[in-house]
């Protein structure tokens, strides 16, 4: 059985600032990343959908110590975002000084603005991650 959505295609779309997900045709649950089976009901009847990239910050951290190869990014903000379509996704937050990242940003609306491509000798090629910004209120 073939995948409906491969990492390769998800990643290529993300590089174009398009966030793809999978909608379960059986139960309606939406996943924010590729997979063979619906995480809620196990169905493999999945369709690719484009996620709008809009959501709400559920948690955050300001990273002051980075893994090898990412030292130049320090300090940077990592967020867990609940997308409007339902799934949670991990990404970065730009446009806000890390000094201003405190508990008050939990619950704030964000939009996916761009993506960050990273790679090193272990990553098996370039991998993109979503970068969010606080939505204009």
């Amino acid at each position: 059985m073939e995948h409906r959505l491969l990492f390769k295609d998800y990643n290529a779309a993300l590089k174009q600032n398009k966030l793809l997900g999978l909608k379960c045709e059986a139960c309606g649950d939406v996943a924010g990343q590729p997979g063979m089976a619906c995480r809620k009901c196990g169905s493999t009847d999945l369709s690719i959908i484009e996620l709008k990239g809009l959501g709400v910050i559920q948690s955050f951290t300001v990273m002051n110590v980075a893994p090898e190869g990412m030292e130049a990014r320090v300090p940077y903000i990592v967020v867990l975002v609940e997308l409007n379509e339902g799934p949670w996704i991990m990404g970065n937050l730009s446009g806000l000084s890390p000094l201003d990242a405190n508990m008050d940003i939990i619950g704030k609306r964000v939009t996916m603005q761009q993506t960050v491509p990273v790679s090193d000798k272990y990553s098996g090629g370039e991998v993109c991650g979503p970068v969010f910004a606080l939505a204009a209120s």
């Binding site: 002051n64 110590v65 893994p67 940077y76 867990l80 508990m103 990273v118």
Partner: protein, 391 residues
């Protein structure tokens, strides 16, 4: 299914940078366990070993074969388990099944790791490999970062203001160092204060350096035997009363359960059910305090305290020896040290020693039932083992 006992345990001193290889460390722990069990290396029928990152530490994969050769358990079945920081616990559980199923009577389990050989930058990169390389790695997440996300989520969900939660977290680290100072095999032998924690380097807000476990070299090993064999070899068998293990996808996929880790709910439930026990039956627990907040979250999922309440219990002293549940009398990952592939075996080592009453100043008096709790990655593996006195 046959009953399975731990009949001997061994553990190296846990430390920062040192000169021995991962095979040498394991062999030393293994021989201590073998000698304590009144068996010979030739009596070992199979070896199950946890090793997380040997490939990067010494350029050594398939370490299990060389460990078997080194200890004189020549040509036995030897398997390596890679379940991130829960590798040795996964090894123990599989070894249990081989003996419980009747295939072997005496097996050796354990784990070994020389994390410090990587240096901090590579160690941070390779530890991050235990999170999702496709959907988490690009944003630069690390494990302090994962637990930082969970700490902020915890503060929000349970309406505990961050300064209050930080005070609770700091006390977790203070307790760990207190007990490690009474454990000759612990990496850190020094007590610390709440102020020490709150003044330490900010790693990933709100996690500070003294909220974090260190990088550690070390090994631990246990000999498991069938009930019949255990009866011949020791007067103090410690039985594996319950086991449980579960998996989960990356952190974002665990959304509705966070900050608690769903795999722990499952694994703990399985182990309690198998043992026919409940949280109140446990006298001592060695749980996965890779970060101070992780300890608070674990205590709640294991059923020792209601959700949102474990931190208060820590401040009230309920998690110290003599309190409601003795948590991490070894010093835990925070202060005993965290040689990832060996950690689950070291937790079981401590529980066996506690049940035998051999822990000196840090002894939980009269302990009859103990539990281990080992986490791999950001909830990818969760492994629980309940042990009980067999005499």
């Amino acid at each position: 299914m046959r009953k399975v006992a731990v009949i001997g345990v061994g553990m190296t001193k846990f430390s920062g940078k040192q000169a021995k290889t991962a095979v040498e460390l394991f062999s030393e722990a293994a021989f201590d366990a073998i000698n304590e069990s009144n068996v010979k290396p030739k009596d070992i029928q199979a070896l199950f070993i946890g090793n997380g990152l040997g490939d990067f530490e010494e350029g050594q994969a398939q370490i299990q074969a060389f460990c078997a050769e080194s200890i004189g358990a020549f040509h036995v079945r030897a398997n390596r388990y890679e379940n991130a920081c829960a590798s040795a616990s996964a090894a123990i559980q599989d070894a249990f099944m081989w003996v419980a199923g009747g295939f072997y009577d005496i097996v050796l389990v354990g784990g070994t790791e020389v994390c410090t050989k990587m240096g901090t930058p590579l160690a941070t990169r390779t530890f991050a490999m235990f999170s999702d390389s496709r959907y988490e790695y690009p944003c630069g997440i690390t494990f302090p970062g994962v637990f930082a996300l969970l700490a902020h989520l915890y503060s929000k969900k349970y309406c505990i203001p961050l300064p209050e939660l930080k005070r609770q977290m700091a006390q977790v680290s203070v307790n760990s160092h207190y007990y490690a100072a009474r454990n000759p095999k612990a990496q850190f032998q020094k007590e610390i204060t709440v102020a020490d924690v709150l003044n330490s380097l900010m790693v990933a807000t709100p996690i500070q350096l003294q909220d974090c476990c260190p990088f550690t070299d070390g090994a631990a090993a246990l000999v498991l035997a069938s009930e019949k064999m255990a009866g011949k070899l020791t007067g103090k068998p410690v039985y594996i009363a319950g086991i449980g293990q579960a998996s989960a996808g990356n952190l974002a996929t665990q959304r509705e359960h966070l900050p608690h880790l769903y795999a722990r709910e499952l694994a703990a439930g399985q182990s309690y059910a198998m043992a026919g026990m409940k949280p109140a039956d446990v006298d001592v627990v060695e749980l996965h305090d890779c970060f101070s907040i992780a300890s608070i979250i674990a205590m709640e999922s294991l059923g020792f305290f209601p959700r949102g309440k474990a931190g208060e219990a820590v401040l009230r002293g309920e998690t110290r020896i003599g309190g409601r549940i003795a948590v991490n009398p070894s010093g835990g990952l925070k202060a005993k040290g965290h040689p990832i592939g060996a950690t689950g075996a070291a937790q079981a080592y401590e529980i066996v020693k506690q049940l035998r009453g051999e822990c000196g100043e840090r002894q939980v008096e009269g302990a009859r039932v103990g539990m281990t709790d080992t986490l791999g990655g950001d909830g990818g593996t969760l492994s629980n083992i309940i042990l009980k006195r067999g005499w």
